[in-house]
């Protein structure tokens, strides 16, 4: 190879860089994306579109994976959300353990749920999730609310409890000893009961 | 030169010990103390980045102190104490360097005493002229007679003389210096004891080998060695990093509403930067040169001493290094029908004409074997002297008997000349001796061969163990000998060397060195002759014997004043110790930081963030006392470690891993633990003063 050729030719390198940009965008963005889109559409259409839940009128009422806000007594309430369950702006509270705001928020919920030293509230009901959209509460947290829900709906405690036990799942099987309940699904199940 | 008495070795050790000044000898300390103040000059300090930063810190606290004094601020005693300790740190560092330098100078002075002026008898066109020794120039010829001082370094070009070199080597036994051989080099300042010699001057006065070495030892022409330079860069980098750490603390303190006092920040900085090694680095290097000098080795540069530690392969001449001088007659192998006494007697007869060490050893062995019945030299006998050409010697007695002894080929030719033949039995004897590493000398009376005398090498006592230690250090030892392959292999086996070069010519050495170097190995060798010069120059460490030729001395990068071939091993140990000391003290210095952090950081922020008191694991009395204790520890560790820096860390010939494990334990782990104890003790002592 001659010396001039050996010399770094920046111009050629720019051309090469440009060609690699185009090639990699085509392959890693376009083709890769399209392949996965088709895979999702073919194999997992529902979850690929966001695990949306439709009611009988084909209206979207939410996503199985996304928490929505519940405030009425006849529904189970989800964990607090730093973004008010806004599913287009996820975030956590980012309060540090030493931040008084975290304590104040917990105190407000404790007052609302009338927790006492003898009947402490499960921690997830006073702790916001990282996304603000955690669809689950622990089974303990659901049981904690069962009496209120049953009373508001005029159902027996046992019936609500039974429903809870049935829908509680351990997310990691034996690796996660604490079962959780999907708040939206259990509330839909409650609504179905009423009918 | 003789090596065969232990007394002699002991004497040499004693001399060396006496020459090495005790570490804190009064006059040296006085000189060093004065020097350490002189060295405070910033442009001198700037050579050493770590200590330069410390000095700047000391200046800054001094300024703060002055301002405090003017404004009558609170906490004056604390600022004063910090200032004093900081200056002490700088002075201790200077003292360490100055002390090492003073020791070098003291050593150099003993050499310098040989530099007295002498009158020289210059020879110009056959005419003699008296001149002062410092008026001599290179290439001029001088004549030196018995009792006179040799005026400058030179080479004997005519004659032979015994010379007293004790002035530079400390060796009392005179040595022979003669023209034309490998012992032609003479050193200025030594005294001719007998005979007269003509010398061609090879160095101007003040420019001689010795002068250059002295200048080097005194630190006049000190250059940082490659490793020292790399370490300085590393230390400067660490210093910068800690400068960042401390520098960032002031603004961060503001976030917490703390106004950190400048003296405290500087105290933290100085504690964190590697002042211990920074202070002792120069002293370590100087001490390495100094140790080499104590071993009577003059190194042409500090770099050479440092490089010695890296040597992978050692080229050693067999004779005088591995074996005791020349070969000795050790055994008789008579042919069938010949008695041992007969053979011994004939061998003696045949050797009377042989003045070589080998011939003399045959006489000696004969006398031991035959006792009173040994033959005596008979007047009238005709001596056939040994020559390199004939390779045999002998004696023709007046009664007609004639004895010959010599190398097998020579004797074969001799008897074949008399129509006798070589019997297979003789051939078998000759081969047998050779196989066992001996040199066969065949003895004949007339045309009858009587048998073979075996000459063997006698290994120097303890040489095997010494090689064992070298191997543990990862060095390969290669024996160089003129012997044939068979003999060389046998001796190599006995001595335990890794390889040998048999039938070595000077070119073989050079070729061997080049080959090893191509494989990335570093080679050291020792030599004396002019024909060694190319190999000495090629080797990474070439040690020339002081007795050797000027060419050899110029080619090598060290000169051994004792002309002791085993000196190489010592030189390597000195080089290794030098590097180990640097590494160990660097490790120690960095490891110290843990304890200092625990002393200073809680103390700095205790007022603003009271809960940090929980980190005061040493239970130091007050924040001020904590900071001062760490700073004082940091300062006094420097003089405490001067002995380690100057004497070097303890060296044992072991494999790399064992050495590292040992040093990591002592200087790494020790470096973490020691300051906890030290700082606590100082804090308790400060508590007694009730000042802080």
């Amino acid at each position: 190879m001659s010396d001039t050729k050996k010399h770094i030719n920046v111009y050629q390198q720019i051309i090469t860089s440009g060609r690699i940009v185009i090639a990699s965008m085509t392959i890693c963005c376009l083709l890769y994306g399209l392949a996965l889109l088709s895979f999702g559409r073919l194999v997992m259409q529902d979850s690929a579109d966001g695990s949306l839940i439709l009611n009988d009128h084909k209206e979207t009422i939410g996503s199985e994976l996304i928490a929505q806000g519940f405030t009425r007594p006849e529904y189970f309430w989800p964990r607090p959300s730093a973004v008010a369950y806004n599913a287009s702006a996820s975030a956590g509270s980012n309060f540090s353990p030493t931040n008084p705001a975290l304590r104040h928020r917990a105190e407000a919920i404790i007052t609302k749920m009338e927790a006492k030293a003898g009947n402490p509230i499960p921690a997830d009901l006073v702790s916001a999730s990282g996304s603000g959209l955690d669809p689950h509460i622990t089974l303990a947290a659901a049981r904690y609310q069962a009496a209120r829900v049953a009373a508001a709906r005029g159902l027996s405690d046992a019936l609500v409890m039974g429903l809870l036990e049935k829908s509680a799942k351990s997310p990691g099987g034996p690796l996660t000893p604490d079962p959780v309940v999907n708040v939206l699904l259990i509330n839909m199940a409650l609504d179905r009961l009423k009918k | 030169m003789k090596y065969n008495t232990n007394d002699h070795i002991q004497a040499k050790l004693d001399r060396r010990r006496s020459r090495r000044a005790s570490l804190f000898k009064k006059d040296l300390v006085r000189i060093a103390a004065r020097q350490s103040v002189i060295m405070l000059k910033p442009w001198v300090m700037a050579r050493n980045p770590v200590m330069f930063i410390t000095e700047i810190g000391a200046v800054m606290t001094t300024l703060v102190l002055v301002l405090d004094l003017l404004k009558h601020r609170y906490g004056l005693i604390y600022t004063l104490a910090v200032t004093v300790v900081l200056w002490a740190t700088v002075l201790f560092a200077n003292f360490a360097e100055a002390l090492a330098e003073a020791r070098g100078k003291a050593q150099a002075d003993t050499l310098k005493r040989t530099r007295r002026k002498a009158m020289a008898r210059k020879v110009i066109n056959g005419l003699e002229e008296q001149v002062s020794s410092d008026e001599l120039h290179e290439g001029e010829i001088v004549l030196v007679k018995a009792g006179e001082i040799i005026p400058s370094d030179g080479e004997v070009i005519e004659g032979a003389a015994t010379v007293d070199e004790s002035a530079i080597t400390g060796e009392s036994a005179p040595v022979v210096r003669e023209a034309g051989g490998d012992r032609s080099g003479v050193t200025g300042g030594t005294r001719v004891l007998s005979d007269r010699i003509s010398i061609r001057i090879t160095a101007r006065a003040g420019q001689s080998f010795l002068d250059r070495m002295i200048a080097l030892v005194e630190g006049a022409v000190r250059q940082k060695t490659p490793n020292e330079l790399a370490l300085t860069v590393t230390l400067a980098g660490l210093t910068l990093a800690f400068l960042l750490v401390t520098g960032a603390l002031w603004p961060i303190g503001r976030f917490f509403g703390v106004d950190l006092p400048i003296p405290t920040l500087i105290a933290l900085l100085v504690c964190l930067i590697p002042t211990t090694i920074g202070a002792l680095l120069a002293a370590i290097g100087l001490a390495g040169m100094d140790r080499a000098l104590s071993a009577n080795v003059l190194a042409k540069s500090g770099k050479a001493v440092e490089l010695a530690g890296d040597i992978d392969t050692l080229l050693l001449d067999k004779t005088g290094t591995i074996t005791l001088g020349d070969r000795q007659a050790t055994e008789y192998f008579p042919l069938t029908g010949v008695t041992r006494a007969q053979l011994a007697e004939s061998a003696m007869w045949a050797s009377f004409g042989d003045q070589t060490p080998e011939g003399k050893s045959i006489i000696k062995l004969g006398e031991e074997t035959l006792g009173s019945s040994a033959p005596l030299e008979t007047p009238g006998a005709k001596v056939v002297p040994f020559t390199a050409h004939s390779r045999l010697s002998g004696l023709d007695l007046p009664d007609g008997r004639s004895f010959r002894k010599g190398a097998p080929d020579a004797i074969y030719a001799y008897i074949q000349g008399q129509a006798a033949s070589v019997t297979p039995a003789l051939q078998a004897l000759v081969d047998g001796v050779g196989r066992h590493g001996g040199t066969p000398i065949v003895v004949a009376e007339g045309k009858n061969v009587l048998g073979v005398v075996a000459l063997s090498d006698v290994l120097k006592p303890g040489i095997r163990d010494r090689f064992e230690r070298l191997r543990a250090m990862g060095l390969r030892v290669v024996m160089v000998t003129g012997d044939n392959r068979l003999t060389a292999a046998a001796i190599a086996g006995q001595a335990g060397v890794d390889d040998y070069i048999a039938e070595a010519k000077p070119e073989d050495k050079l070729e061997y060195i080049r080959r090893e170097q191509r494989e990335g190995r570093l080679i050291a060798m020792m030599g004396d002759g002019t024909n060694d010069a190319p190999a000495l120059a090629q080797a990474d460490i070439g040690v020339a014997m002081n007795s050797g030729t000027q060419a050899a001395k110029e080619a090598g990068n060290m000169v051994d004043l004792d002309s002791d071939p085993t000196k190489l091993i010592e030189v390597i140990e000195i080089g290794k110790q030098l590097l180990m000391t640097r590494g160990a003290l660097t490790t120690f210095s960095i490891a110290n930081d843990v304890a200092k952090y625990f002393a200073i950081i809680p103390a700095m922020f205790m007022l603003a963030i009271p809960q940090l008191a929980a980190l005061n694991v040493m239970g130091l009395t007050t924040p001020q006392s904590a900071i001062l204790s760490a700073l004082i520890f940091n300062a006094i560790i420097i003089p405490l470690l001067i002995p380690v820096a100057i004497k070097g860390v303890k060296y044992r010939p072991m494999g790399a891993d064992s050495i590292l494990r040992r040093n990591l334990l002592i200087y790494g782990l020790g470096g973490v633990i020691a300051p906890f104890a030290g700082i606590k003790l100082i804090d308790m002592a400060l508590g007694l003063t009730r000042l802080f």
Partner: protein, 555 residues
């Protein structure tokens, strides 16, 4: 049970890293034969790159090409982000971005940091996400792998370190792409959305409206996890139920974080032909990582100080954590993501207990417990050089690494590189703590506020990308400062180590004797560990004490 989960994640990653490294070495090395799959891919690369991609480069040429291509990456994405309002694939009509945010985002993704001062579902169009950010997640990670391959070639004695362009294509197309396809398929099967439809509008049971942002999430998340990128599709990153819908996707994503960094060590061993040395490096990293995970899980299992004496059932700290991942998932992920310069999160680091936060910070300060794709081992190389230098002297020889003497030039470069980290972290923190730029943007009072600033700079300098997200960091000072730091902290520690390797490669190798410091022993492992702790960690002890430790002691 929780220990089992941690062992499962770390064990799976460690096991998979072995075949992954074999694959990577095969992909990064020139084809052995003149036929076959590897050969034909290489021909395709040559057709794309032309002659420029065929020529062997020394370290200088290699670095130059690397910088040139990375400038391209920066510029292309800068343009895409600036024009997103007029580009296609924007179903939710995302608007114009603020210039300093564009600079910050382009710098962040070019430097493999993925520090996000925007929130994905709020500000970015699908085109920006896919052709801007996701593309950078491929090629910036590939740059890291290429650099490591070049370093390894240099250290095995070659002054020609390969060709950057061909290395980049090998890493992108042969290493990252197949792994990303595999991971995306697993994620789609695990319920992660993959759609180009715009946000869904739901009418909730209680009758209010909920806008549910979605998008081509699976493709994005896979490469985000694999390439130690960490920039999430959504603001909440892998805490978001769409990015990480279940316990099992969480395990997959955890393994993906650490897989290539682990495999990088083996690849280094394979290319240099020093597997035993690689085993020692791997072990040191693994020990540090396991130690950090154990500590973080332990610290995080304490209840949050905020609920002390309130009638709340005692559990570990779950503020900012999702229930579906299990109790220890947050701390485990937190350690992995900060150890590897990934920076994705599955829980909010800002809400961690103080000492857990310290462990995460330590991960970024050291940045070597497997570290970023490719660059993690390059950082470790610096600590090895310094350790070898100091301890090498202690065995009584001029220090040498892999048979080559380490001298002033190498030490100068190594120290300079090591200084970059404290300079940016401590310097940046100092300036922002002192001025309203930082002091007025913190979300929490006291030491924790300081830690938020410290964390942001640590994350930028370590090219990590996670954050104490309470910090209001989308301001011009933050965008400019961290943007510049990310770029410098990315490229200086790639260029200078390559220079060291180039200089070492030019030296004659020395043979190994018993007098040589061996690099494949337990003792050498201790030496590396020591130099990491004493040189890496000591520099950050004061700020560690002032931030997390002070916060911890406060209660």
């Amino acid at each position: 049970m929780s220990t089992l989960l941690i062992l499962l994640i770390l064990g799976a990653a460690a096991l998979l890293s072995w075949p992954a490294a074999k694959w990577m070495t095969w992909a990064m090395s020139p084809p052995q034969k003149g036929t076959g799959f590897r050969y034909s891919t290489e021909s395709v690369f040559l057709r794309i790159g032309g002659q420029t991609a065929a020529r062997d480069q020394n370290w200088k040429e290699y670095t130059l090409s690397l910088l040139l291509f990375n400038s391209f990456m920066f510029i292309v994405v800068f343009v895409i982000l600036s024009l997103q309002q007029i580009l296609p694939l924007n179903p939710d009509s995302k608007g114009v971005l603020e210039p300093s945010l564009i600079f910050h985002t382009a710098a962040s993704f070019t430097s493999n940091t993925n520090l996000q001062h925007y929130s994905g579902e709020v500000s970015l169009s699908y085109f920006s996400q896919i052709f801007g950010l996701m593309w950078l997640q491929f090629v910036s990670a590939a740059t890291g792998i290429a650099s490591l391959a070049a370093l390894a070639r240099g250290l095995s004695g070659k002054t020609n370190m390969g060709n950057f362009f061909s290395d980049l294509m090998r890493a992108t197309f042969l290493v990252l792409l197949p792994m990303a396809v595999l991971a995306s398929i697993l994620l789609i099967l695990g319920g992660v959305p993959m759609t180009l439809l715009g946000a869904a509008t739901a009418k909730t049971l209680e009758g209010s409206l909920q806008i549910i942002a979605r998008g081509p999430v699976a493709a994005f998340v896979a490469i985000k996890q694999l390439g130690t990128n960490g920039g999430g599709f959504f603001s909440a990153n892998s805490a978001h139920p769409f990015e990480n819908p279940s316990f099992f996707t969480n395990i997959i994503e955890c393994v993906c974080i650490i897989l290539i960094p682990m495999a990088g060590v083996w690849m280094f061993g394979r290319i240099t032909g020093r597997m035993r040395h690689a085993v020692i490096i791997f072990s040191v990293m693994a020990v540090l990582l396991a130690g950090k995970v154990a500590l973080a899980v332990y610290f995080e299992s304490a209840p949050t100080a905020a609920f002390a004496e309130l009638p709340v059932q005692a559990t570990g700290n779950i503020e900012g954590k999702e229930l579906r991942f299990g109790a220890v998932a947050g701390a485990t992920w937190g350690v992995l993501t900060t150890a590897t310069s990934n920076g994705s999160v599955n829980s909010m680091h800002d809400s961690f207990n103080p000492l857990t936060g310290l462990i995460l910070l330590a991960g970024m300060w050291l940045n070597i417990t497997f570290g970023g794709v490719g660059v993690g081992l390059i950082n470790m190389f610096l600590y090895i050089i310094v350790g070898v230098f100091i301890c090498g002297m202690m065995v009584g020889r001029t220090p040498e690494y892999l048979g080559r003497k380490v001298e002033t030039h190498e030490m100068k470069l190594a120290l300079l590189t090591l200084l970059v980290h404290p300079l940016f972290i401590l310097g940046g923190t100092a300036v922002f703590a002192l001025t309203p730029w930082g002091a007025s943007t913190v979300n929490n009072p006291g030491p924790h506020g300081f830690t938020e600033i410290l964390y942001e700079f640590s994350s930028a300098a370590a090219n990590n990308g996670s954050g104490f997200e309470g910090l209001r960091d989308n301001t011009t000072p933050w965008n400019v400062a961290t943007g510049i730091i990310m770029l410098l902290a990315r490229f200086i520690p790639i260029i200078l180590p390559l220079a060291i390797a180039g200089s070492l490669a030019g030296r004659k190798p020395a043979p190994v004797t018993t007098g040589t410091l061996r690099t494949d022993t337990f003792l050498f492992g201790m030496v590396i560990l020591g130099s990491v702790i004493f040189i890496g960690a000591l520099l950050f002890l004061p700020v560690a004490v002032l931030g997390p430790v002070a916060e911890y002691l406060a209660k």
